[in-house]
Amino acid sequence: MAETPLLQTPLHDLHLRLGARMVPFAGYAMPVQYPTGLIAEHKHCRAAAALFDVSHMGQVRLAGADAAAALETLVPMDIVGLGEGRQRYAFFTSANGGLLDDLMVVRPPAGAGFGDLFLVVNAGRKDADLRHMQTHIGHRCAVLPMPERALLALQGPQAATVLSRLHAGVAQLVFMSGGVFELAGASCFVTRSGYTGEDGFEISVPADHATALAEALLAHAEVSPAGLGARDTLRLEAGLCLYGHDIGDTTSPVEAGLAWAMQKVRRPGGARAGHYPGAAVIEHHLAGAAPRKRVGLVGLERVPVREGATIVDAHGRKLGTVTSGTLAPSVDRPIAMAYLPVDHAIPHHEVYAEVRGRRLPMRVTPMPFHPHRYHR
């Protein structure tokens, strides 16, 4: 197989200057960590503010008066009722009731130049998502990828203090809302959201202004760069799913514990119930038929339990498999996510992870593992 050269984000040279270790990720060369190391970056995000380059993710505009109704045929969310400037977590469902990707949807202010809906999808699913939307709703609205924009995430308890120095208006945003702000001379779409469990922002910036904005943010003493390694441990502590690991086309949103993201109006009895792929299966699961559930696990010993580890009961019978796991820097214990049969998915229930021939006790634990600190 021919090797495809890795794509670079607009911040590539900055990463190299900062001494990042670059790794291939979803077809891009991405910084996995900087010289301070993953744990320091993770803790800095929890204590102050961390800057992540997430430009590999897919930014897409949907344009047209029918865009919201069209998107509702692919996601079981209330998009039609999404207010201007409001953001919502969503997922594309498959015909068998699984998940094709998860994404963020925001309705930008009218005439802001970000379409009628502005979407951020996973890097590894970008091409598939674009095809999916083009095929199924391309006749109802324009599906417009935005490769000309970079995406930065500024996350942590000091993120608002820092970003307010560039534009005081961002302080008015609350969790899961967004708007257009001029930052370091560039017109940016800023949402108060993220993937760390902390307060923070995601900033869509024109690619040719991305380095200047990143440098302007890094110039503040509170801000340090953080790589994909810390992003992964932060999101895992926050109990947030990683597509392709914790969720995928064989997990229903109910099994994944994501039913909260489906608004009443799209559920049975709601005014716009169903009419999305896999609705029959998902409604059946909503009614109580989901055979298994995604749970959080905390290790009672200090041995890390990683993706792929088998979870067994006290008699050694297989219950499920770990989908993400690590020794969590802030929680300072092994944490993991796994799918367990519903009769084992009970808080404080003890199960065992098989690691190198040993059975390590773990306790089913409500998530997040580390409390969310969103600005609501």
Binding site: Q33, G37, G229, T233, P304, T326
Partner: protein, 124 residues
């Protein structure tokens, strides 16, 4: 030469061949990142050359520790067990893993000397 290296990035110092010291190289700890857990062998147990005698884990990954030479484990570094980050901060010193009574010095002589190991690092 008293310190030799393996292709798996372990080092072994043979100053005392009744208790040769084994650890991971600077390159190994750098590639792993922040070390958060080590599994050390049982004192008194004997291993063949190349057998897995321990595990070192960072936040991101786990790696096996292979026996650079066959022999019996004399002592393990309890300070490293208590503070695995010693493998990052001082991999050639306080971050040692265990000591081994070398069964066959010929196995030691077959390992990579410092210039050979440096040459290997240049290919990575």
């Amino acid at each position: 030469m008293t310190t030799m290296y393996t292709p798996d990035h372990e080092w072994i110092n043979i100053e005392d061949h009744e208790a040769a010291v084994v650890g991971i190289t600077h390159h190994a700890q750098d590639a792993l990142g922040d070390v958060v857990f080590v599994e050390l062998p049982e004192v008194g147990r004997s291993y063949k050359q190349g057998e897995v005698a321990g595990v070192v884990e960072s936040v991101k990954a786990a790696a096996d520790i292979y026996m650079p030479v066959g022999g019996e484990i004399v002592e393990v570094n309890e300070a490293l067990r208590a503070d695995p980050s010693l493998a990052n901060s001082d991999p050639l010193g306080q971050g040692w893993f265990f000591t081994v009574r070398v069964a066959d010095m010929a196995e030691f002589d077959q390992l990579m000397d410092p210039p050979a190991y440096d040459a290997l690092l240049k290919t990575i």
